[in-house]
């Protein structure tokens, strides 16, 4: 199945019943499949006039109880940033798929890159946390979409899935698990009594979410708000609200962060990689193994929240860390901030991957 | 046919509309009589029909002295007072000599943008006191 289609199927398996989108290469196949498949699940597909509207629509749909998703690429994500902040502030679950392509600006619509990884966490204004999955093969395109929906619902937050063009337009084998085995989550709804309900109760880490039409007469706003949802612009209210929202992530890092560790226990040199680039790294590790070198890989399945603890631990075990990316060095800055050992960046301007041979060449260079 | 032409004046009790009707033969005479009774002037019995009276209420701290109520009261019953609410605005009052003029028409209740001023029928007040 096509990677993009795997994302669409993953969304449907997770219970997605609302898709609002705008055509953009290389994410159009997701919209195309959704426009056809939404009818089967009694959901709604709407094609809006731009990505800004798409993002606003999925937040609105989620407020009414739908599991909502949109799919776009770099230029579209740039447009969606303001409303991603709105979803974060209003604490509304939704999933945004970004099939990354060559940037900046119009860039290379039909070629890959990993140039938006920083934008997912730091693009919108203000301080906010983000959860981002980064699949590295078509099976993960499906699985991580399901996980994105689950985490979005569990933590009442927008989740950005960072795929890239290579995976989006790659056709590969896919196993779709039986419904029963899929654990789909839904946000917590408030109890029956209306009188004492506070939409943003600071006493609960993840307050139950009242949907439109349930009779709770909620007020939700993007302004800093108090526990009743009303605008309240004071430093004290802001501090309480922002700490609670941040704590949803910070206190649950163990549940959110997902990593793959290869050979990390007995190597001197380790890679930190993500997405399709990590497949090249795995290839390079195999080449190195044949030559008798043991090289490790810490693959980031979730890029955000950044796995600070694991990176610190890794940096205390190995001598050097290499970070190959299909961008001019984005995650490497985070790695450098926390690592105690030397960190070497392996940037790529975008358009293709590093080949395993190129990565192996880098290993040799680093060792000598 | 001139000799059968009759013109009748009608006066509706409160509307003062006049209608001229021409009829041409006696078959319609009964219908005319019925219509005459319907349109006949009936004096109002003041025991049955009372002119409504209203009393004025205000949620005083909401008033912002916008002037809509005293401008648009159809009987000019209201004017600005020299009393201030806690926000520093002058709220309305009923003019001297106009105490009995409020008829609870509802205009001030509707036009107040602040959900401050309203009237209630005065009968309610009398029952309460």
């Amino acid at each position: 199945m096509l990677g993009d289609h795997a994302i669409a199927e993953g969304a449907l398996a997770a219970g997605c019943n609302f898709f609002a989108g705008y055509p953009i290469t290389p994410a159009s196949p997701i919209a195309e499949r959704m426009s056809w498949r939404m009818n089967h699940v009694d959901g709604d597909y709407i094609q809006l006039e731009d990505e800004i509207a798409s993002m606003a629509a999925i937040i609105g749909a989620s407020c009414a109880g739908a599991k909502a998703m949109t799919a776009t690429s770099g230029p579209g994500l740039s447009l969606m940033l303001e409303n991603i902040g709105l979803a974060y502030m209003m604490e509304v679950p939704c999933v945004v798929v970004n099939v990354m392509r060559g940037g900046p600006s119009t860039g290379m619509p039909t070629l890959t890159s990993q140039g938006d990884v920083m934008q997912a966490k730091w693009g919108s204004h203000g301080d906010y946390e983000m959860i981002s999955y980064c699949p590295s093969n078509v099976q993960e395109m499906f699985d991580f979409t399901v996980k994105s929906f689950n985490l979005a619902e569990r933590y009442r937050t927008p989740v950005i899935l960072l795929a890239d063009q290579i995976l989006g337009l790659m056709t590969s084998n896919l196993t779709i698990p039986h419904e029963v085995k899929l654990n789909t989550e839904y946000r917590k709804l408030p109890p029956k009594d209306t009188i004492n309900y506070k939409p943003y109760d600071n006493a609960e880490l993840i307050p139950p979410m009242a949907l439109a039409g349930m009779g709770y007469k909620v007020h939700m706003t993007g302004l800093t708000h108090n526990e009743f949802g009303y605008p309240a612009a004071t430093p004290d209210t802001h501090s309480k609200l922002m700490s609670r929202i941040r704590d949803k992530f910070i206190l649950n890092l163990d549940e959110i962060i997902d990593l793959e560790k290869i050979n990390l226990n007995d190597c001197n040199i380790a890679f930190i990689a993500y997405g399709s680039e990590s497949q090249s790294v795995k290839g390079a590790i195999k080449i190195a193994e044949k030559k008798g070198l043991k090289i490790g890989l810490l693959r980031l399945k979730t890029i955000w929240p950044f796995p600070i603890k694991e990176v610190v631990e890794l940096s205390q075990q190995v001598r050097k860390i290499i970070v190959p990316e299909i961008n001019m060095g984005q995650i490497v800055h985070f790695v450098r901030e926390y690592a105690h050992c030397e960190v070497i960046s392996m940037p790529h301007p975008g358009g293709s991957l590093h080949s395993p041979e190129e990565i192996y060449a880098k290993i040799k260079e680093v060792i000598s | 046919m001139n000799k059968n032409r009759v013109t009748i004046d009608y006066k509706r009790n409160s509307k003062n509309t006049t209608k001229l009707i021409n009829h041409s033969n006696n078959n319609k005479k009964k219908k005319i009589e019925e219509m005459y009774l319907e349109f006949q002037r009936n004096p109002i019995n003041l025991e049955d029909v009372k002119k409504p009276r209203g009393s004025l209420y205000i949620v005083v701290d909401r008033c912002k002295e916008c002037a809509y109520c005293w401008e648009y009261c159809p009987d000019n019953v209201l004017e600005v007072s020299n009393q201030l609410n806690s926000k520093g605005y002058h709220y309305p009052m009923i003019k001297i000599d106009k105490e009995d003029n409020c008829v609870h028409c509802g205009m001030c209740t509707e036009i107040c943008p602040e959900f401050a001023l309203f009237t209630l029928p005065k009968e309610v007040l009398q029952i309460e006191s």
């Binding site: 006039e49 407020c63 739908a66 007020h219 993007g222 009303y230 | 002037a67 003019k95």
Partner: protein
């Protein structure tokens, strides 16, 4: 003199978040009247549309604060994006009666694209377009509906640009219910809002509102009352007017056409969607 009797509640308080009154709008602002009329329209329609199904979405600005005062499910969203947000809400729960209430800068200047597309789609929304001819909340800058030549904080010598004529624009975009009233037309506005609730399709009601501090005082209307007096003298019910001439110029010698200009019963987005799917093989 007889002072009014002091009480704690007002008969129209039922659907107002009274803990947040007095509201932030200036003395003389028409938004209070619109709030009053809108909440009454909800109450009058509760036989056919349960109050729990009423939802209000607004954007940013003085008119955008509307959502914070209506006691129904209400959402205060980003600048200009209230309409797509409302589209998402309506599609996800088709029982909801979604109203978008926002200002001219929010809905037409920054959000104009979304407004005309929503009209084109004939999506089932009720848009109450509060036109006070400027960006009030930020101090009175000009926008897409500011009359030509008007003085605002960013057009001190007079506005070089010409405004949209909203009823004309909406009609040509395909809206199926287009009306304009002023905040002085209290009863007509209330009835019009009820008609919009029951209208199946995209309803657009432009409400001309005084803005004494933003627009009014620089443009020959010292108080909100002066603008209301202008509405009284200049407005003319003209349901069948040629919409090309239906501009609101706010100039003392011009007329202000009001009324229900377009009532079209063409099928709404949802109806057409269902019919199309049904006619082409159903949901398979």
């Amino acid at each position: 003199m007889t002072l009014p009797m002091f009480v704690e509640t007002h008969p129209r308080d039922e659907l107002v978040r009274t803990e947040r009154l007095p509201h932030i709008w200036c003395p003389g602002c028409g938004l209070g009247n619109i709030l009053s009329g809108f909440t009454q329209a909800i109450i009058n329609s509760k036989g056919t549309i349960p109050i729990d199904n009423q939802v209000v979405v607004s954007g940013i600005g003085c008119s955008g604060r509307f959502a914070g005062y209506v006691k129904v499910d209400s959402y205060h969203t980003t600048h200009g994006r209230a309409i797509p947000f409302a589209t998402g809400l309506k599609l996800a729960n088709k029982k909801l009666n979604v109203s978008v209430i926002s200002g001219d800068g929010d809905l037409m200047t920054i959000g104009g694209n979304h407004l005309i597309h929503a009209a084109r789609r004939n999506i089932n929304l009720n848009v109450i377009f509060v036109n006070n001819f400027n960006y009030g909340m930020t101090g009175g800058q000009f926008g897409a509906t500011t009359p030509h030549g008007a003085i605002t904080t960013t057009s001190a010598k007079g506005n070089y640009e010409h405004p949209f004529s909203m009823p004309y624009l909406m009609a040509s975009a395909g809206a199926s219910y287009v009306a304009r009233w002023t905040t002085l037309h209290l009863k007509q506005l209330e009835k019009s809002i009820e008609n919009a609730f029951h209208h199946d399709g995209f309803s657009f009601i432009e409400v001309i509102s005084p803005c004494p501090k933003g627009f009014g005082r620089k443009n020959n209307f010292k108080t909100g009352l002066d603008q209301m007096r202008y509405f009284e003298s200049a407005s003319l019910k003209s349901d069948n007017i040629n919409l090309k001439e239906a501009t609101a110029s706010m100039k003392l010698l011009d007329n202000l056409p009001v009324g229900e200009f377009i009532i079209d019963n063409k099928p709404s987005y949802l109806k057409v969607k269902e019919a199309t799917i049904l006619n082409n093989g159903g949901r398979t």
